[in-house]
Amino acid sequence: MDSALIPKGVKRCSLPVFLFGVGIVGVVLLWGVYAMLLCWLKGLNQTNMNDSYGFALWIWADLAVIAIGGGAFFSGFLKYILGIDELKNIINYAVLIGFICYSSALLILAIDVGQPLRSWFIFWHPNVHFMLTEVAFCLSCYFAVLTIEYIPLVLENRKLDEIPFIHNFTHNMHGIMAVFAATGVFLSCFHQGSLGGVSGVLYGRPFAFREHILVWPWTFFLYTWSAAACGPCFTILLTKILEKITGKKLVKDYVIDILAKISGIMISTYIIAKIIDTIYWAWVTAPSMGFNLMDFYSSEHSNPLYHGLWILLLEIVIGGIVPAVILISKKLRSNQKLLLTAVICGTMGVCLNRWVMVMQPMAMPVMPFDSWNLYLPSWQEWATTILPVAYGIILIAFSYRYLPIFPQEKELNPIEE
């Protein structure tokens, strides 16, 4: 029924099967939309946040999708700036994932603020001394860049491409894409870093605060680094998931191998920096504020399940050292199971890092007579956090079905005439 829209030379499932699958995810999407409307119409009392836990699931989700969406800017950097041409075979998908992640981040932010209609105040009355302002500007600009990068993909749809103007327009856009990729790298480096900065500058919260280099706290550099390191893991992970769902090989192994190797080098250097940062924070920064490391993790009043040292170990060992070791070794990353393990760990590691920097500073009391806080999200918070996931699945489904996302798909899956 929709065969005229499907790229030439590739096979897709029947339209009813496709619509059935999309419909199931669509139900989840509608559930999220309902929760989103509740939050907008009734206010943030629909959540389980409170005055002690003012940052919660949404902010974590926001930071996490921005981090794992970092695969887009870093892949763009590798392809367009460093000239690793092989990555052209996965760059479209990386851009699509980045577009989904960043649009989701903006949507989550729009739900998270108490007065969404005033969100533009951040641009109108900016506090130029604070990094969140820079995040707002860079995030918006980078989303525009990702949109510009995604548009040529949409215009490459078989039917649209038949129109000469669109065909030529798309061709010319591809020609200048390096400029946008470079702009995206510049913007991403700043907003990823500034997102780290907003935790690191909280000098009233010893768990989050980090020492500075000039105006930038250590977290500024660690966030950019980790997004560049672990973003590609998420790109590879989603490629593998899509290959599993479609039952087809979509990207050649050598392309994945190049991205995995670079990701491995990045994670290795990142995790060394992260360990140094943790040691300095535990032995110098925190004690200068009157805290021993274990004050942050164990207390007679805190629940070790939520605030135990295991979180730090999980982040650094399983989410950092394990993927680093696997991905830098040619032999290990050639094993598909180990590769999958590594990219899952890498993605989990960076998401957990954002969780730690957002949630744990809220849980821990700073005044000696204050108590630990426990927070469990409401169903509205879960629904609105799952909403972008459902939206992402649907957008990937449509993009994969109707757009030539994977240039190697035809060659890897020849159709018998």
């Binding site: 003012g54 940052f55 603020v113 009233g204 504020m289 700073v366």
Partner: protein, 278 residues
């Protein structure tokens, strides 16, 4: 001319000294604050994690078993922190929309309700939990609207609010002084509602920069060291973080003073607590 003007200009630093030996924990300061500032309340106030108390009284205990048990009540308004350099309060420095500001003339940290868009970053930054979010629209019991203060605007759902050191009283006092032909406010011209409501006289308010004001005399703030108190029994909450708060506490009990800050195990063993504060 401009230089002369600057020399004449003497910035004030309004602050508070709370004598914990006098505080009985009666809560009058909390009630007075809520009435004065149109602070909204819920029908069910049992969950304190989402109720608004600009002034909150904490109950401290020395954690010793009977008969050595001692308790102390600690009223906690907004600390109106100055930070290590002027106006670098934990909350002001992180507001992305400049909805909260540090007034260099008074040292008061303001909150612009109509500009706040509810990102709650200031709440995350404040180690004192002195900032509160309006999770609901304010709803007043039938007829109570008539008793609201006309000098303080009620806040809408979705914005952050906090103690303002009754800034509207400062504005009224300035107006009154102007009409009376005075340039300077007298100490008694501007007092917060909690100060006046405390039946034990535990709260004292005034200009910390003015040696004639009681607050200055009670704690002797060391201006060369970010306002650290020189008086032995005086302390500030979380002094070590460098927030430079303008609320000081007095207590003759060492365990109470020790509760004002965090100390590592090594410091506790060495007993360097008092040294760190003075």
């Amino acid at each position: 001319m401009k230089q002369e003007h600057n020399q004449d200009k003497k910035y004030k630093k309004y602050g508070m000294v709370i004598d914990l030996d006098k505080c009985t924990g009666c809560g009058s300061c909390m009630v007075a604050c809520m009435a004065e500032n149109n602070v909204p309340f819920k029908e069910d106030e049992s969950n304190k994690l989402d109720s608004i108390t600009w002034m909150r009284v904490y109950k401290l205990t020395n954690k010793k078993p009977f008969p050595d048990t001692e308790i102390c009540y600690l009223p906690r308004p907004c600390m109106h922190c100055e930070g290590r350099h002027s106006g670098h309060s934990p909350c002001v420095s992180v507001c992305p929309a400049t909805a909260t500001d540090y007034d260099m003339e008074t040292g008061i940290v303001s909150q612009i309700y109509t500009r706040c868009f509810g990102c709650r970053y200031c709440m995350a930054a404040c180690p004192y939990h002195a900032r509160y979010f309006n999770w609901w629209d304010p709803v007043w019991p039938e007829g109570m609207q008539k008793s609201l203060s006309p000098n303080v605007s009620p806040r809408m759902r979705g914005v952050v609010e906090k103690c303002s050191f009754c800034y509207h009283r400062y504005q009224l006092a300035k107006d009154k002084a102007y009409f009376q032909g005075r340039k300077e406010l007298r100490e008694e011209d501007y007092q917060t509602s909690c100060t006046q409501a405390c039946p034990a006289g535990a709260i004292t308010f005034g200009d910390l920069n003015n040696p004639h004001h009681k607050v200055h005399q009670m704690v002797l703030p060391d201006l060369a060291h970010h306002g650290k108190p020189k008086k032995k029994n005086a302390f500030r909450l979380l002094e070590r973080l460098g927030t430079n708060p303008k609320v000081y506490y007095l207590s003759s009990k060492k365990w109470v003073r020790d509760m004002g800050d965090n100390y590592t195990i090594e410091e506790k063993h060495k007993g360097v607590k008092e040294e760190l504060h003075h």
